[in-house]
């Protein structure tokens, strides 16, 4: 990989200021960044190690949890509070990667990981993410793993995270510190962007911005389900995954938060789908209508067309389970 200067940040303030220098990247667990640097996809001139900042703590906050940016995926999955109150998050984390990678990968790094599109991963293939305007060589190529929702003519990549899907369903909030110290909060659903004409811009982060934490709101007694379909039993990215966080009241769906992985450039949520479920008694008919809404604008590339019926089926299965019926 291209050589770089290695710096260790000693405070968030220093980190955000230093990060304003061109070609500077934060280094967390490194599991994706180093992977990309070895292939010449990322070529930072400076790596700013944020692992020694005081961001590795999970603390209780307003009945919810504030998860530090450098909390490792394995520690988050094993945290007793997460296991008890946010099982969908534990499950999603445990569905991802491997024991070793989870020991390294950080909360913020997981959110910021980049697509596994094999055309993005090959610098000899055209990719609008790597080189804006270069074109997308995935379109018309091998598209088994690509998006069926929210894609554009410029990019059909998917976001690979499991963790982010669960966090989206939990209505998590990303805490961001900007250079100068100002902190702001962004809903996870608004954190990642759809590709549009600018697939190289993947999140709402501005230059110098540092993710400091992810905040989970207090649980409200929801039933939480995470399902993931993949090409082997473990250690594989999702073809499709779903996180369902559902609260029932007197036989009716009071709230339904659904997020999907493997379908789009970001963890996919659809307010219309959730609205059509809320207030209704659960039934296969209702779930079908929800799936219709979810998939009304779904658009396959051929090889990934199967994701449409597959999504319908696991949505139904997850909803049956979450609403108390048997799967």
């Amino acid at each position: 990989m291209k050589d770089f200067a290695y710096l260790r940040a000693s405070s968030c303030d220093e980190a955000t200021t230093e990060a304003l220098e061109p070609a500077t990247r934060f280094l967390g667990g490194g599991t994706n960044l180093l992977d990309l640097m070895k292939l010449g996809i990322e070529t930072p001139a400076r790596l700013l190690d944020v692992n020694r900042l005081d961001l590795g703590v999970i603390e209780e906050l307003d009945g919810g949890l504030r998860i530090g940016a450098t909390v490792r995926n394995s520690d988050l999955a094993a945290d007793p509070r997460v296991r008890r109150s946010y099982p969908v998050l534990s499950r999603a984390l445990l569905a991802g990667a491997s024991g070793q990678l989870r020991n390294m990968a950080t909360t913020a790094g997981n959110l910021l990981q980049r697509t596994r599109c094999p055309y993005f991963y090959d610098t000899d293939m055209a990719c609008n993410k790597r080189t804006p305007g270069a074109g997308c060589s995935a379109i018309g190529g091998f598209t088994r793993y690509h998006a069926i929702l929210g894609a554009s003519d410029a990019c059909i990549a998917t976001h690979p995270s499991d963790m982010a899907v669960a966090m989206a369903a939990l209505e998590a909030v990303v805490e961001i510190e900007a250079p100068g110290g100002a902190r702001r909060h962004v809903h996870l659903a608004d954190f990642h962007r759809l590709p549009g004409d600018t697939p190289h811009i993947e999140t709402c982060l501005e230059p110098g911005d540092l993710i400091t934490a992810v905040i989970l709101p207090a649980p409200a007694g929801e039933r939480q389900i995470y399902r993931k379909i993949r090409d082997r039993a473990s250690y594989a990215f999702a073809l499709v995954s779903v996180a369902a966080v559902v609260r029932m009241e007197e036989g009716r769906i009071a709230t339904a938060r659904l997020a999907f992985g493997g379908l789009a450039h970001k963890p996919w949520r659809d307010a219309e789908v959730e609205a059509c479920l809320e207030g209704e008694p659960p039934s296969d008919d209702l779930f079908d209508r929800a799936a219709d809404r979810l998939l009304q604008r779904a658009w396959g590339q051929g090889e990934n067309d199967f994701k449409i019926p597959l999504t319908r089926r696991i949505l139904t299965a997850a909803l049956r389970e979450a609403t108390g019926g048997m799967a």
Partner: protein
């Protein structure tokens, strides 16, 4: 740049470019070639080492980030004539053929047993809370980050189950 750390109990000071991974440093700079490079991208687990008690992929770890770390490699777990319990079990159960993924499997399993002892659940755990019992299915899931193309998986699971059982019995006493 200079990195000071402990490897297999020995303090070390290594001078290397920032871009050198822990894996390449172990293999080329220190001469500890037991840790293997299978994919260099965290997709096979052959490079697994134990850092501060946790199993990690050394291929995706920069040496320079490991200032002050305590690294244990397969060489540090045991040597011929003085093998660790897991190394002995792998030998007895034929938990390897070509041997290339083996150091990673053994380092991974060594730390994995401790993860389970702490009660960490896995994707296949029925319940997320309570104790972690290392059934075959649990061991297989937890070890899935270590690929073995010779596919000695059933033997590896046998070896780990044997040692894990002894470890759990020890903890219970």
């Amino acid at each position: 740049m200079k990195t000071t750390l402990t490897i297999n109990g020995e303090p070390r000071e290594i001078e290397a470019e920032a871009r050198v991974t822990l894996l390449d440093a172990l293999r080329h700079e220190i001469g500890l070639t037991g840790t293997k490079k299978g994919c260099d991208h965290g997709q096979c687990g052959a490079c697994t080492v134990i850092v501060d008690g946790r199993r990690i992929n050394s291929c995706l770890t920069l040496l320079c980030t490991q200032e002050g770390a305590e690294v244990v490699t397969v060489e540090g777990l045991g040597e011929p004539g003085r093998l660790s319990a897991l190394q002995e079990a792998f030998l007895a159960q034929d938990g390897f053929q070509c041997g290339y993924c083996t150091p990673g499997q053994i380092c991974s399993a060594t730390a994995m047993i401790e993860e389970a002892a702490k009660g960490w659940p896995s994707w296949v755990s029925e319940s997320l809370e309570g104790e972690a019992v290392l059934s075959r299915e649990e061991i297989s899931e937890r070890m899935s980050g270590n690929l073995c193309r010779c596919a000695c998986y059933p033997n590896i699971v046998d070896a780990i189950a044997k040692v894990a059982e002894a470890r759990m019995a020890e903890a219970a006493e």
